[in-house]
């Protein structure tokens, strides 16, 4: 296992990065890929070797600062990381401050996708804190002339155990910072059970700001002399402008400039979308002016994109076979000789992100010293935003600075740098600061949509009704199409990773084929991504088979999954991506999957559900982002309407820290899964999105929310998996299965419930 090396961070580098000039002790970790050469004192020299991921500074004023290089978007990272640190360091949480890092490769991966934030960072934070604690203790022990082993830290003091001796951190840091760095392998982390907040409800850093209106998001950044831009973008991918009215918008009071945007070229990646921008003194004027643009478009080839016809073309394509990313045994033969055959097709349409805060970015391009561009944005990935801005302005990356604001939800949309590119281009063209404000309609019509997928299944059972053969095809345009110069790209093995390559079935005959279809829109990733449809289809199909075989769905599901760890080889995988994490550390563990399922079934009283005369019950379980989540749902009918009455969700995410934020992520996952199932589905007509706002691109509202959501978190010593994403995939299928139990109606699509 790669251990991150903890280093002292020089004063100079700390000041450079944070602007904080207080002297003190500063430690941080370097990213694994770098090859640091330690200076004699253990201090690391400046760039390019200096690549801290996370760092911690204890000032002579006693203030502990954490340089947090991840965006906050509802997962509570900015609460959890400092609390982990406080517990490990023995610090007083109220004296811990978080500084949000700007986008820079030196912080390692800053993307807040993939549920990785906590997973990758808790060791680093704790490691740095443990080292700092050790150095503080050493300093105090020397002063007192006692053995270091007799001392500990608590509430921002070093104490001598069993005595009244104590001394504040503030009085120790300067001397501590002069010590040589202790041998990292000898500095032990505290036991999890010794951490005050471990696996408990933790304080929530920003909560007061949130309820008083003082939290500041991207759109709240104002710069002097700034114009607001509203951009009319092409509604069809690749459409270009024939003509537009550049006079009419200027008649709207407050409109200052009309600027034609550069036309993006394939691969579209994170370029802006093209179109025409109207820049004005205020948002209202920009939006009004834009209405007068009267753009005429050349729509181009993707105007042929129609949802119904495309679905039919996916069905045709799925009649042929495709390359298998997972194959074991001889599934075709096993199917031929099966006692019974089962088949079904599931379809999941495009899904939009619909973050509550529409995308927004502010850019200030100045000509000084050959050009410099500073951006403020609610971005999940300041590094890709930085590259996108560099490209849009023609500047080298080191002449671009991206500041991350709070995010009003991201869900993957805001890891794309397109809106930052647009703001940067416009600021350069206008010669003054510009804020690009997406409307809700822009957000829906110019989204990097989750892909559309068709999954075709055939399964064979033996005389006892046990599953013997499994053959599936998954057809979808992959994310890779957004980053290549052609639109027809096969699904990738890393896409099949999500719910197929790690489907913990131990059966002898298994095959999963990839079917290629063309992309007609920019495909992106939405919270849980491909897992959304793979989990939906697989869990519902298993429920279908169980019912046809007259088996209890719980027993049947438990019977198809292995009781142990399955290696990629024995599953028949050609590649294994495993969310880019070590397969030894995070194996595909059928036992954990089954445990989550059994637990959720017990919580929901699954076995005595027959006694509940008014409600139908359904189950689903799924591994994603290295965590295992199971869901049970109970639905009822009220005046012909399906009501999701109660939902139970069990997550095994390995070690989790901030219990309450895990609970809130699970609650949110249930709501999101329900939004997909009941309101999901972005459709296209002549290449353009048919939905426009929250009236037709629906999000669940309060009256539809379950009366009760019960969250159960497995106490585990396994390495941490994700928490932000894995809750969503099993929600929709559990509810669809419950609806079947109640009504006998089988849902094989989202948005049809």
């Amino acid at each position: 296992m790669m251990i991150d090396q903890i280093r002292k961070i020089s004063r100079r580098d700390f000041v450079k990065a944070t602007g904080i000039t207080t002297a003190g002790l500063c430690l941080g970790t370097l990213s694994c890929q770098s090859t640091p050469k330690a200076a004699p004192s253990g201090t690391v020299a400046v760039d390019p070797i200096f690549k801290p991921n996370v760092f911690v500074h204890i000032g002579e004023d006693g203030i502990v600062s954490i340089y947090c290089h991840r965006s906050e978007m509802g997962q509570g990272i900015r609460s959890t990381l400092p609390i982990i640190l406080s517990d490990e360091l023995g610090a007083d949480f109220s004296k811990v401050k978080i500084i949000q890092a700007i986008g820079d490769k030196k912080y390692g991966d800053q993307n807040t996708d993939g549920s990785t934030s906590i997973r990758k960072n808790f060791d680093k934070i704790r490691g740095s804190a443990a080292m700092a604690r050790d150095m503080l203790i050493q300093t105090a022990a020397q002063k007192w002339n006692v053995a270091k082993e007799t001392c500990d830290t608590k509430d921002h003091f070093v104490i001598q155990k069993g005595t009244n001796k104590k001394i504040e951190f503030a009085k120790l840091v300067i001397d501590a910072s002069k010590l040589a760095l202790p041998d990292q392998s000898k500095v032990k982390l505290r036991k999890n059970s010794d951490l005050d907040h471990f696996h408990k409800k933790m304080p929530f850093v920003d909560v007061k700001d949130f309820v008083t209106g003082n939290a500041r998001y991207g759109a709240d950044v104002d710069l002097p002399n700034m114009l607001i831009a509203s951009i009319e973008r092409p509604s069809v991918m690749g459409a270009t402008i024939k003509s537009f009215d550049n006079k009419a918008p200027t008649k709207v009071g407050g409109v200052r400039k009309i600027i034609k945007m550069p036309e993006p070229k394939q691969p579209y990646g994170f370029q802006g979308w093209g179109g025409v921008a109207v820049l004005a003194d205020n948002t209202w004027a920009a939006m009004k002016g834009r209405e007068a643009l009267a753009i005429q478009w050349n729509l181009g080839e993707h105007a042929s994109y129609n949802t119904k016809a495309f679905k039919a073309s996916m069905e045709t394509a799925s009649k042929k076979s495709g390359p298998a990313y997972r194959k074991k045994g001889n599934p075709s033969e096993a199917l031929r000789t099966a006692h019974k055959k089962h088949s079904a097709q599931y379809y999941v349409s495009h899904l939009a992100h619909l973050s509550m805060e529409p995308p927004v970015a502010i850019a200030n391009y100045t000509e000084k010293d050959g050009g410099f561009c500073e951006v403020w944005a609610s971005t999940q990935n300041p590094q890709t935003a930085r590259s996108a801005v560099a490209r849009a302005t023609g500047l080298p990356e080191d002449r671009v600075r991206v500041n991350v604001t709070l995010l009003g939800g991201g869900f993957g949309r805001k890891s794309k740098g397109d809106f930052c590119s647009e703001a940067a281009f416009l600021s350069k063209a206008a010669g003054q600061p510009v804020r690009v404000q997406f409307t809700r309609e822009d957000d829906i019509k110019n989204d990097y949509l989750n892909t559309v997928a068709l999954m075709t299944f055939e399964a064979g059972t033996d005389k006892k009704g046990m599953l013997k053969a499994w053959q599936m095809k998954s057809a979808f345009p992959p994310i890779a199409s957004t980053f290549m110069d052609k639109s027809e790209v096969p699904p990738q093995a890393r896409d099949f990773q999500q719910g197929i390559l790690d489907l913990a079935m131990g059966i002898d005959n298994f095959e999963a084929q990839a079917i290629t279809v063309k992309a007609h829109v920019r495909i992106g990733w939405l919270r849980a991504v491909y897992n959304l449809f793979h989990s939906f289809a697989t869990n519902c199909f298993l429920d279908e088979i169980a019912r046809k075989e007259k088996k209890d769905p719980l027993d049947f599901m438990l019977s198809v999954y292995a009781d142990r760890v399955l290696t990629p080889k024995e599953m028949g995988n050609t590649e294994m991506h495993n969310y880019e994490q070590d397969i030894e550390q995070h194996p595909v563990n059928g036992k954990r999957l089954k445990q989550a399922l059994s637990r959720v079934a017990a919580k929901a009283n699954w076995k005595s559900r027959a006694k509940d005369k008014t409600r139908g019950y359904g189950l689903a379980v799924h591994r994603s982002f290295l965590s295992y989540v199971a869901v049970a749902a109970a639905v009822k009918k009220e005046q012909d309407k399906i009501i999701v009455d109660e939902v139970w969700i069990t997550i095994d995410a390995g070690i989790v820290y901030n219990l309450d934020r895990v609970v809130s992520q699970m609650e949110g996952s249930v709501i999101e899964g329900m939004s997909h199932l009941f309101h999901g589905g972005i459709t296209h007509k002549n290449g353009a999105v048919e939905q426009s706002n929250f009236n037709d691109a629906g999000i669940l509202r309060m009256p539809e929310a379950p009366r009760k959501i019960h969250v159960d978190i497995v106490t585990s010593t396994e390495p941490s998996g994700g928490v932000g994403e894995p809750g969503v995939p099993p929600v929709a299928p559990a509810i669809a299965n419950a609806i079947f139990a109640l009504t006998g109606k089988r849902l094989r699509e989202f948005g049809k419930a």
């Binding site: 509550m356 805060e357 009236n695 999000i699 009256p703």
Partner: protein, 150 residues
């Protein structure tokens, strides 16, 4: 056009286009950023403020409609962030990203002004116009009930 508003108990005279929605008047002109833009069409409730004590969707209400009237935004709901709903929100750790929360709280405050002890259905119906994309609904419900207990 010059108009007079009493915003969070302070008299303000502002020169804005009379059709400019109150939302943009507050955010862009009066520099009060707590009121959020979510949809611009009265569909999500993120922009909820009180006009003479009653919740309105500021994104579809022209400034003209507030001329001479009192507007309360989240910044003015209480002096120290200690409105019973704000306290209850903190107790239940309601927010996730937080973006919708000022609108949720302003709407709930107006709901409680009209009905001191709403039942579950009344809460659901009263809050149906406020979307929370992060899915904090079950906590919003609990926090309102708790505050109403008072």
């Amino acid at each position: 056009m010059k108009m007079k508003f009493k915003i969070n108990k302070k008299e303000r005279t502002l020169d804005v286009d009379k059709s400019m929605p109150i939302l943009w008047m507050l955010r862009d002109v009066a520099n009060l950023k707590g009121t959020r833009f979510g949809c611009g069409k009265g569909l999500c409730g993120a922009c909820t403020v009180h006009l003479d004590g009653v919740a309105i969707r500021s994104c579809i209400t022209p400034s003209e409609a507030a001329n001479g009237k009192g507007i309360t935004t989240i910044e003015g709901l209480s002096d120290n962030g200690d409105h019973p709903l704000q306290k209850s929100w903190i107790k239940h750790n309601v927010p996730q990203c937080g973006y919708c929360q000022p609108g949720q709280i302003m709407n709930a405050a107006s709901l409680l002004n009209q009905n001191k002890k709403p039942n579950d259905t009344q809460i659901d119906e009263g809050m149906a116009g406020n979307i929370c994309r992060c899915g904090t609904y079950t906590r919003v419900r609990e926090a309102i009930k708790d505050a109403a207990k008072g």
